[in-house]
Subunit: 344 residues, 2 copies
């Protein structure tokens, strides 16, 4: 198993190592779970039909282009296993499950590593040359990216897709955090012939414990994945929740307002902390580079105040000097900024 | 996806096609779910530690010999994927996910098909010859078997394990229904060096919607499976429920009493139905052979009374003339027997 944030999730720690919307559950989710309890005596729908149809309606795409997953993670592994690409190019540093999934599926992996000293800038010429040289069957890109928070807009994404098409490759794009950017998912503007868009309900809807993800792509890829999909991977609560919460307007307004305000507040606050460089983020977390303290040392200090961040030493090209700091409620963010100012 | 029972699970049908304990949820499960709702905002424990420890304690086996699964089905597929056995022998007719899982993993499959005309009797000499001839890396046996309800006792199982050892093979034994037999799981008496015992909490505890299974084997196989296991496959409710319900004495007493009484009642009742042969069962369902009506025709008749059984045409060596009939509450069982007497 890879290392991940969230290890202090069950204690009194304010856990800045996870990327979950901190506003908590809506009454809607709570009520749906209670009213679904009796449904657990029956097998969940083997194909998750009603949930899939709710997603299809919400994103305005045919349900034959959608696949539901037991969290986005099921779909990363399923895609790798079903497509078995010979060569995979990963845009690094990024979420470390892609590498594990494709290695287990037997793929050869190469990276295009974005440079922290160059602000993790995506250089389309370098990407194009890498594509020509390596000729990958699949390219993996997380957008906005975890852990850097970087976001490539539609213009850059269109160029990337053009290069991917030119090289007869395929783009697997993880848009698990897209709702936090305020922008539309890329699939709304680019057809799915050469892309798989991975989406998660975990982060935005704050339901990591339920395991809900989905993918959107063309029907040929869906068919191939369904051929390999295991039965009953999604539990009853997950399936019952999807139609009730996806696109819940009052919830979205609240979350979008919170993330916009707190992202600005945290960016400002973290920018003023000495000995810490913060990278601009379009998501609900910030990657930061520490000047002299290691992330683990920082955590030892933070834990005295019941706080904790994600040390990024397991991400490609990053090291113990990098930490990822989530965005939480305002009162916690104030505390985090203030404590960092004391420690660093 | 394979065909399965339970397609009428969401309507007013009394669904005799599923093999779930019909006594419903205990207050214990209901209360645990309600008190766990706030936990879904946190990631579930990536390795399911607390649930695993509860299972270890319950079955009195070290937790290094246990692997938790998102239902037993995750573990069938994970075992196949991680072990990638070249040759697999399946004792048929049986649950059809084994075949799919090992085919997807690239295994060559052969069968030892038990004969319905010989009461699905397991012949150890024929098995031994098949083992010698085919030299499988893995043998799959479901005990008690779905859909036949046949159960091989400890003496026969010991002989089978001896043959498996002799041929340097490995026995994957699905004991998902063992609690209904009144006998101990085989692993309590035979060491795990050459066996993987698959267990499910779905059927006995009536929680198919939660997805809870586990496997017990030696630590080498566990390590290999963990190498391939995907992260966060089990949801928060499943993990929180396990320590609360496993081995719940008053619940077990109630379920064991129900299945014993109703199995006898149903066997007696079904035995007296004309044009239907019932096979003796040690589980919570009966395989029956119809004399002239097809299972689908029978269902058309049964649906008039809001009942439904599992037609077994997709099981190896069985056809439309075989149906699997679950054991339900007494009032429903009376109704089923009475209606079958009218129809057949």
């Amino acid at each position: 198993m890879n290392k991940h944030g969230g290890y202090y999730g069950n204690s009194d720690i304010i856990d800045y190592s996870v990327n979950i919307n901190p506003l908590g559950l809506t009454d809607n989710i709570r009520e749906t779970i209670i009213s679904s309890i009796d449904n657990i005596c029956k097998y969940p729908d083997i194909g998750g039909t009603s949930a899939k149809e709710a997603v299809a309606k919400h994103i305005n795409v045919g349900s034959n282009k959608i696949i539901m997953g037991n969290g986005a993670s099921e779909l990363i592994y399923l895609f790798a296993r079903a497509l078995k690409p010979k060569k995979v190019l990963i845009i690094e540093p990024t979420f470390n499950e892609y590498r594990r999934a494709f290695l287990l599926a037997g793929s050869e992996i190469d990276d295009y590593v974005l440079d922290s000293d160059d602000d993790f800038r995506f250089n389309e010429d370098m990407f194009s040359r890498k594509m020509e040289a390596f000729q990958p069957d699949v390219v993996i890109l997380c957008n906005p990216n975890n852990p850097t928070g970087k976001y490539l807009g539609l213009e850059m994404m269109s160029e990337i897709v053009d290069i991917v098409k030119r090289e007869n490759s395929f783009l697997f794009i993880d848009e698990s955090f897209v709702e936090f950017t305020g922008y539309e998912p890329i699939g709304n503007s680019i057809d799915y012939e050469h892309i798989f868009s991975l989406r998660s309900m975990t982060k935005y809807y704050a339901v990591p414990g339920l395991r809900i993800g989905y993918g959107v792509t063309n029907d040929k890829i869906i068919e191939k994945m369904e051929e390999y999909k295991e039965p009953w991977t999604m539990n009853t609560f997950a399936l019952d929740i999807v139609p009730k919460v996806i696109g819940d307007k009052s919830f979205c307004v609240k979350v979008n307002r919170w993330v916009k305000i707190e992202r600005e507040y945290m960016y400002e606050g973290l920018s003023n902390v000495r000995n810490l460089k913060v990278y601009k983020s379009y998501s609900n977390f910030f990657l930061c580079k520490l000047n002299y303290l290691s992330g683990n040392m920082l955590n030892l200090e933070l834990l005295k105040d019941n706080m904790y961040v994600r040390v990024c030493d397991d991400f490609k090209s990053l090291d113990e000097g990098f930490v990822r700091i989530g965005i939480k409620r305002h009162v916690d963010n104030e505390k985090m900024v203030s404590i960092l100012n004391k420690i660093l």
